[in-house]
């Protein structure tokens, strides 16, 4: 890179960073983002790095070239295009950015006491046309806080009701949801109808629902409502197709936004994520999915380990977002949730690990995987559970989740094992752009750490 360009880059960095530091309290990551997505992607070369590709062998001393938002070359040596920004990663390790597909990122700013910032669940039980992508706040402070700790992409899901809405697969950079979205309507989210235990965090005096005939009837009715709506959507889709093909002779069908939204899911073209924790509910969700010809993913699956063979047989992938939850029952083994991932992995079930959080603690993702590794999951599998596997399960495995030529350049350069709590992130790339390691946290730290 020529000297003048280097100087310009330095000047640019200063111009960007100084006002940011002075304005610690604002949601000011947008100023960073707007320069991230609206300008042409620069070219970088990372040298002398240890590269953990995830899909292949580690490269002990290698080079990565990033250009146009993609990984264009990897190797012990790779040809470097002119004008690339050099990054000397001696002593450091390059990982794919981590991916958490069980979050509500951007839908909640402050969960308690600021309801104006909570857009997590809509009223009503059946909301297939509610899409998180329209509600995610790209300027939420949680986004920068999360990415500076190495999580570069998430699936953000709406909650509540039975059919909660559609989740968005987003990169954690961009100044509008569309800029952030890798797949804007990535999956349908269904809270599989069950008896007992409302949502949320429990507590000492959770009212115990009884398994009354009324509760069972209500649960069954909700299941029937789901089937009914899916069948209607399927019929609606056919009617719309027929009309489009032959608008002159076919009667124009009325628009139904809910059914329209459901069509690709009803046709099995896009996945449906079912929240189900217990064996009965997991089984019920999979049976429903097979009956209605959906493409199921189970999120939760606290009891997945008890039915690993069933999950494998039916080839249903699982998002484990409860590794660090307390065991379901008083009598459950103390490590029953820690060991869940290892048992599923041993049985050949496709799985990934999620921190299961609304935003503030998504950055803990590596420690959820780390705990699974402390209880039986191999370190390489643990790393895959937060990189390649979530990408594959969400159908973006050919463009994300590992360091391979042609994939999107979401990369993290760290000074140690990325799953370890003491490891620092030194460089961050999303969509092939280097993102400053600045967040609300770093700015408040800078503001106060030297106060006498």
């Amino acid at each position: 890179m020529k000297t003048i360009e280097r100087k310009a880059a330095a000047l640019l960095a200063v111009l960007v960073l100084v006002p940011l530091v002075q304005n610690a309290r604002a949601q000011d990551t947008d100023r960073t983002d707007s320069q991230m997505t609206n300008t042409p992607a620069p070219t970088y070369v990372i040298r002398n790095a240890r590269i953990v590709t995830v899909t292949g062998a580690d490269i002990e001393n290698g080079t990565i070239v990033i250009s146009g938002g993609r990984i264009t070359a990897i190797g012990a040596t790779a040809s470097v295009p002119a004008g690339a920004t050099e990054i000397d990663a001696r002593g450091l390790t390059v990982y794919p950015g981590m991916i958490d597909v069980g979050t509500n990122m951007g839908l909640v700013e402050v969960g308690q006491g600021a309801p104006g910032t909570v857009d997590l669940q809509e009223l009503g039980e059946m909301n297939p046309n509610i899409a998180a992508v329209w509600s995610i706040n790209p300027h939420s402070s949680h986004i920068a806080v999360t990415r500076v700790d190495g999580v570069t992409s998430v699936l953000s899901m709406p909650a509540g009701g039975i059919i909660s809405g559609q989740a968005a697969f987003i990169n954690l950079a961009g100044s509008s949801p569309r800029e952030m979205a890798v797949v804007p309507e990535a999956a349908l989210v269904i809270q599989f109808p069950r008896i007992g235990g409302g949502g949320g965090g429990g507590g000492f005096f959770q009212a115990q629902q009884a398994v009354t005939p009324e509760a069972i009837t209500q649960r069954d009715r909700r299941l029937e409502n789901i089937r009914h709506m899916l069948r209607d959507a399927e019929a609606y889709g056919r009617a719309q197709d027929a009309y489009r093909k032959d608008p002159k002779s076919v009667l124009r069908p009325m628009t139904d936004l809910k059914l329209a939204a459901l069509v690709p899911y009803a046709r099995g073209e896009r996945p449906v994520i079912f929240r189900a924790e217990r064996e009965r509910d997991i089984r019920g969700a999979i049976r429903l999915a097979e009956e209605m010809k959906l493409k199921p993913i189970i999120i939760g699956a606290s009891e997945g380990w008890k039915m690993a063979a069933f999950l494998k047989e039916h080839n249903v992938p699982v998002i484990l977002d409860g590794v660090l939850n307390l065991p379901l029952r008083e009598d459950d083994a103390y490590d029953s949730l820690f060991e869940n991932a290892a048992k599923l992995q041993a049985a050949g079930v496709r799985f990934c690990i999620s921190a299961g959080d609304s935003g503030a603690q998504v950055r803990d993702l590596p420690y959820h995987a780390g705990m699974a590794a402390a209880f039986g999951l191999s370190k390489t599998e643990a790393l895959k559970s937060v990189t390649l596997y979530p990408a594959q399960i969400m159908g973006v495995g050919d463009s994300m989740g590992s360091i391979e030529q042609g994939k999107i350049a979401n990369l993290v350069i760290a000074d140690g094992d990325i799953l370890e709590a003491r490891t620092n992130i030194r460089y961050l790339f999303i969509n092939g752009r280097q993102i400053p390691l600045v967040s609300r946290h770093t700015m408040l730290n800078d503001q106060f750490k030297d106060r006498k």
């Binding site: 008896i195 007992g196 429990g202 507590g203 000492f204 005096f205 959770q206 009212a207 115990q208 629902q209 009884a210 398994v211 069972i216 009965r280 029952r329 008083e330 009598d331």
Partner: protein, 476 residues
Amino acid sequence: MQTKYLRFPEALAVAMALACLLVLALHPVGAQRHSGTDTYAITNARIVTVSGPVIEQGTVIIRDGLIAAVGAGITPPPDARIIDGTGLTVYPGIIDASSTLGIPRPSPSPTAGGGGGGGGGFAALFGQNAPSATSPNSTQLPGMQPEILASDIIRPGGTEIEAARNAGITTAQTAPRGNVFLGQSAVINLAGDTPQQMIVRSPVALYIGLAPIGGGQYPGSLMGVFSSVKQALLDARRYREANEIYERNPRGLKRPGQDKSLAALLPVLAGRMPVAMQAEREREVDRALDLAREFNIKLIINGGLEADHVAARLKAMNVPVLLSLNFPKRTAAASPEAEPETLRVLRERVEAPKTAGRLAAAGVRFAFQSGGMTSITDYLTNAAKAVEGGLSHDDAVRALTLGPAEILGVASQLGSIEVGKIANLTITRGDILDRTRRITNVFIDGRPVELRPAATERGAGRPAAPPTPTPEPNDY
């Protein structure tokens, strides 16, 4: 020659005088005029006196509400109504050592049972604990009023009392409902047309419960329950001291306010009236014992599910247990949707009948109580289960009779078949703890009670209350 004979009228007078003297000789002076209908003799029966050896074939004479004679080879008096006890066994009247018999039920509140679901925990407790009465001009909230007397509020008759009698129970300690200070109990016989006819002894014990008042009123937590009890006892102590000082010489002193709630606690502080404290789990029993030790008060454990875990301490502090026979029972139907039950609950159900035997072996005094069971016929059935669980048959019978009488301070009146004691008898065909036994006769205060075997369910004639699960102190 003329013989000196009494003329007929004079002879009659003499004969009558002699007859009167004879009658007076047979009946102590001061005996009431008896109607000729209050003397009974149960003959040729097996008599379990409890205080002495079993009399295989004997007679019990009842006169004027008391036991006039008991033994083998007794000839019934001519005016006695004979009950042929061949093949029958006579026991002292069975005692329920803790209940709410005769205490009117509070009118059903809209929130009772509807708040927290039927699954136990504090919501269920709260519904059951609505105070039975409100003391006028009290400084304390209802549910916190130790001055409430069971004897002031009990009502005679009713289906619960009838059901208890049909199950063979003649006597019960009964206490008001409430939250923390429930009130002072009474021992009552389960027959009589007026409360006065029922009361054997009052007051007996101050009942302390563990249910917070809630709804924003202090105490709202278990911590608050303990603190409010301790503060009340401290305040009572001060009340006594302040009044003593004031009475010696009121001049120059501000008068201590009159407070009947604190006054009601003074006999407890003085050790004249015991406290009956709700305690089922080991830690609850320990907490009760700690409280008793801190204030040097007499304690009775009410419930005692895990009292055997604390047996050594109970024995050392000489604290008796009113052991509930309302064993935890599985009430839930099987369902594939249901959660598996916890090992704790499963173990508890299996262990509960063994507590009595272990207490007996450790030398802890105890008596049986119904513990709020909804089906009072389970009382004797579960006593039999305690025998299966390791309690000796004799200890079980004692825990139904003389044991409670001793603990409740009525042992000179009840609990065994001895001359001079109140004639409460439970008569059975077959051993009282046999599954196949039938209760043939019940005497209360020397009068037979009409038994209606069909109406043995508590609450018969009214819509059945939903089965109340044994409340758990914590539910998380």
